[in-house]
């Protein structure tokens, strides 16, 4: 068996090197940037996560194209009745990848799981300049109190408080499992840092090479427990300019590309040599009033200004149609989305009337516009200008304010800041709790809750929903929360953006990931 694998591996390597000796199927993906590294614990950005998820896997995964959690390296799991203990039953027969620099002597087991989480709990990475950033951002150092091996294929994780989103957290990139044997071998050779340069995973693709800022190469893992994928080689070709990337796709240098310019989407869709798929992203963009500042403490004023904004026009102009109006904080693709909440459709007459009734005259608002393009908001300045024009029609003056992104994020948080702030969110784990708690929970005031809005009933619903284990019951609670938030209107919800993936007509099987990551295990390419 091992000889066979060596031969296959050698054949693949030779094939890679001579190009087309075995008529290999190679998929080239034009990616938008360089990865930071290959250790799943260190990085939070999508560009890096993309390259890691080709090689690694976690205990759970999201069913491709959805936010539904499914088994991956864990075949099944149980939660204790108090919600504090998770017992994972690991899959048997999962092989660690064999590469030029590492040959495993055993299969995947509980030691690897315990190692992967314990190192993040300990918080002392082999590279002292790094931190386990995402683990920290999801508050796991507080939530997870311990991880222990019960036997070779059973692991128990203990939580401090019951938390239903936890199982979705396990499907996130930072929770991908690394090989303890590989880590130990590197540590013994005083070369722990190689974990961040040359990954060894259990996943569908085996890392071959990274040429800095140019390309990342993978070959298919013939031993993947889910079955070898249809393509033989996967190459990420890095190109940071969206226009040049599109030219590469059109020239056939790559078969799939990421992040086209919104302005090019119309011509891409019209191009008969390309297939274009679109999917609503797991994100939302909004304008947060400061509800602790007059006159925004008056809900009628907030609602009036909300009615005054023409969101459809913004979607047409700014999102170039690549978006849909947001009626609630959750995007329609998420479970728990309440479709009966109507939001505040454009009605300038009503806005004027409500403002007059509230006794608001000569109102001037500092309108914060973001300086960078974000997935939920492609062009903050133009959006701000449109809002300014809309508000002018109802007699409200807006002064557009912008500052460097890092400053913007920092200075917009304090509860005594002046004005309304444009901001947004991309979901981390496909759980509604992630959207609500980080952005509108009481604990997030002076932080991510830029509306500085603290509603006790709303918070109580969030807490209840986080502890409830039955998803249908949780969905009902979140639907209530959306109604409550809509009735108080602490923020103008603007849009959810739509993700567009152009690809060659030869590519089949590509599924868009709502989290903005790029998966290739289901892809095939016609020769």
């Amino acid at each position: 068996m091992k000889l066979m694998h060596t031969l296959l591996g050698a054949a693949a390597a030779v094939a890679l090197m001579t190009g087309s000796a075995l008529a290999d199927k190679t998929l080239v993906y034009c990616s938008e940037g360089s990865p930071g590294g290959f250790d799943p614990g260190f990085y939070e950005d999508g560009t890096t996560q993309d390259v890691q998820l080709a090689a690694y896997e976690g205990l759970t995964k999201f069913k491709l194209g959805t936010t539904e959690v499914q088994p991956s390296l864990a075949e099944k799991w149980e939660v204790s009745s108090d919600g504090l203990k998770y017992t994972f039953h690991l899959r048997h027969g999962v092989k660690w990848q064999t590469t030029d620099w590492f040959t495993p002597t055993r299969e995947f087991n509980a030691d690897d799981v315990v190692y992967s989480f314990q190192r993040q709990l300990d918080g002392k990475p082999y590279d002292s300049t790094q931190t386990y950033a995402y683990f920290g951002d999801m508050d796991l150092p507080n939530l997870m109190t311990g991880v222990k091996k019960i036997d070779d294929y059973t692991v128990e994780i203990d939580l401090k408080t019951p938390n239903s989103p936890f199982i979705a957290d396990m499907a996130m990139p930072f929770a991908e499992i690394i090989s303890k044997e590989y880590a130990d071998k590197l540590a013994a050779a005083n070369n722990a840092a190689q974990m961040n340069d040359k990954p060894v995973g259990t996943g569908p693709f085996i890392f071959v090479d990274y040429t800095k800022d140019a390309s990342i190469r993978y070959k298919a893992n013939p031993d993947w427990w889910a079955g070898k994928v249809k393509i033989d080689n996967l190459v990420f070709s890095i190109n940071t300019d969206a226009t040049a990337r599109l030219q590469a796709l059109l020239a056939g240098d790559c078969q799939v590309m990421a992040y086209p310019n919104p302005a090019d989407v119309a011509s891409i869709k019209a191009n008969k040599d390309l297939t274009t798929i679109q999917e609503s992203g797991l994100n939302a963009g909004w304008l947060s009033y400061n509800v602790q500042q007059k006159p925004f403490d008056n809900a009628d004023v907030r609602k009036a200004l909300d009615y005054a904004i023409d969101k459809e026009a913004i979607i047409k102009a700014v999102y170039q149609g690549q978006g849909q109006p947001a009626t609630t904080l959750l995007p329609p693709s998420m479970w728990g989305f309440n479709k009966s909440v109507k939001g505040y459709p454009y009605d300038p007459a009503k806005a004027k009337a409500m403002l007059a009734k509230a006794g608001v005259k000569d109102l001037t608002v500092k309108l914060w516009a973001m300086p960078v393009s974000r997935p939920y908001m492609p062009d903050g300045k133009t959006t701000a200008q449109m809002i300014q024009a809309d508000w002018a029609k109802v007699g409200v003056t807006a002064n557009i304010f912008t500052v460097d992104w890092a400053e913007y994020l920092k200075d917009s948080k304090p509860h005594d800041r002046d004005g309304a702030v444009m901001i947004g969110w991309t979901g981390d784990n496909g759980d509604p709790d992630n959207f609500f708690t980080n952005n509108f929970g009481c604990a997030a005031v002076d932080g991510g809750n830029r509306s500085e809005w603290c509603n006790k009933d709303f918070d109580a619903l969030l807490k209840q929903a986080a502890e409830e284990t039955d998803q249908a019951k949780r969905a009902a609670l979140y639907e209530k929360a959306q109604v409550l938030m809509n009735d108080d209107d602490p923020a103008v919800l603007i849009a959810h953006s739509v993700v567009t993936m152009p690809m060659s007509k030869k590519v089949t099987g590509y599924v868009i990931d709502p989290f903005g990551l790029h998966h290739f295990e289901t892809v095939d390419i016609a020769q």
Binding site: M17, T129, V208, D209, K212
Partner: protein, 335 residues
Amino acid sequence: MLRFILNRLVLVIPTFIGISILSFGFIRLLPGDPVDVLSGEHTMTPERHAELLHQFGLDRPIWQQYLDYLGRALHGDLGVSLSNHHSVMEQFLQLFPATIELSVCAMIIAIVLGVVFGMLAASRRDTWVDQITMGGALVGYSMPIFWWGLLLIIVFAAGLHWFPVQGRMDLAIFFKPTTGFMLIDSLLSGQKGAFLSAVQHLVLPSIVLATIPLAVIARQTRSAMLEVLNEDYVRTARAKGLREGRVTAIHAFRNALIPIVTTIGLQVGTLLAGAVLTETIFSWPGIGKWMIEAIGHRDYTVVQGGLLMIAIMVMVVNLVVDLLYALINPRIRIQ
């Protein structure tokens, strides 16, 4: 001659200190600190913010940070990238050959064509040859690099498929680099088609990068030649009965070299600026693209270290240019 060299070398020290202060200070003048950029919309707890600031050494007084940076730079340690945590010096050395290869090719094109066109224009002054070459130079100088690069890609790469759109090598060909210079490595790899692929990938980016320096060198050559062609010794040469070609190419040209060589030396700086845009458009993995992304991420260490290394390179080139003067013009040697 030796004294001349020593004099020039001594000047390097204050220049280096000045550059180190500027490169250290420049990135810090930009608002926003790198820690804030890291977690994006996620809220970082104040403890973690302080912890990261401490890790990056950004909580120390500015003069201390500077001295630490300078001290380590002198040992070749430029620190670690704040965004991907890999050694700055290591990344620089990995990416630098790509920029050098592109710049050298561009410079060769710019010098050869620039000098030839300039000389042609000067010797055929006020004729259509002069007007076309100088008009072309003006257009080349005025075109935005980004636009020019995209135009060439759309026409010759995506359109006619004569050249590739991006990168340095055909993705189907794979070998481990030895020198980092694709032209050399492709020959060393012995793989069929590798060298040709390397050349093909170099063509469009080199043309784009060469355009502005070519234009400047052409115009400078023309004006330097015109000045010299009016000198008495040129008239003497003609009076002696020498062929016009020999008069221009040898007697006049040699004396026009000083301003031309100066211009070439100065164009190295332009090349590096152009490299940033050219590398981005053609996805050429060099230090230009690396630097521009680092600035966007507020990656202090990369920007500091990168600027310092680039400035040193430019200093070295200018030193070589100055030494060349002494070779070209004996009068400078004697001074």
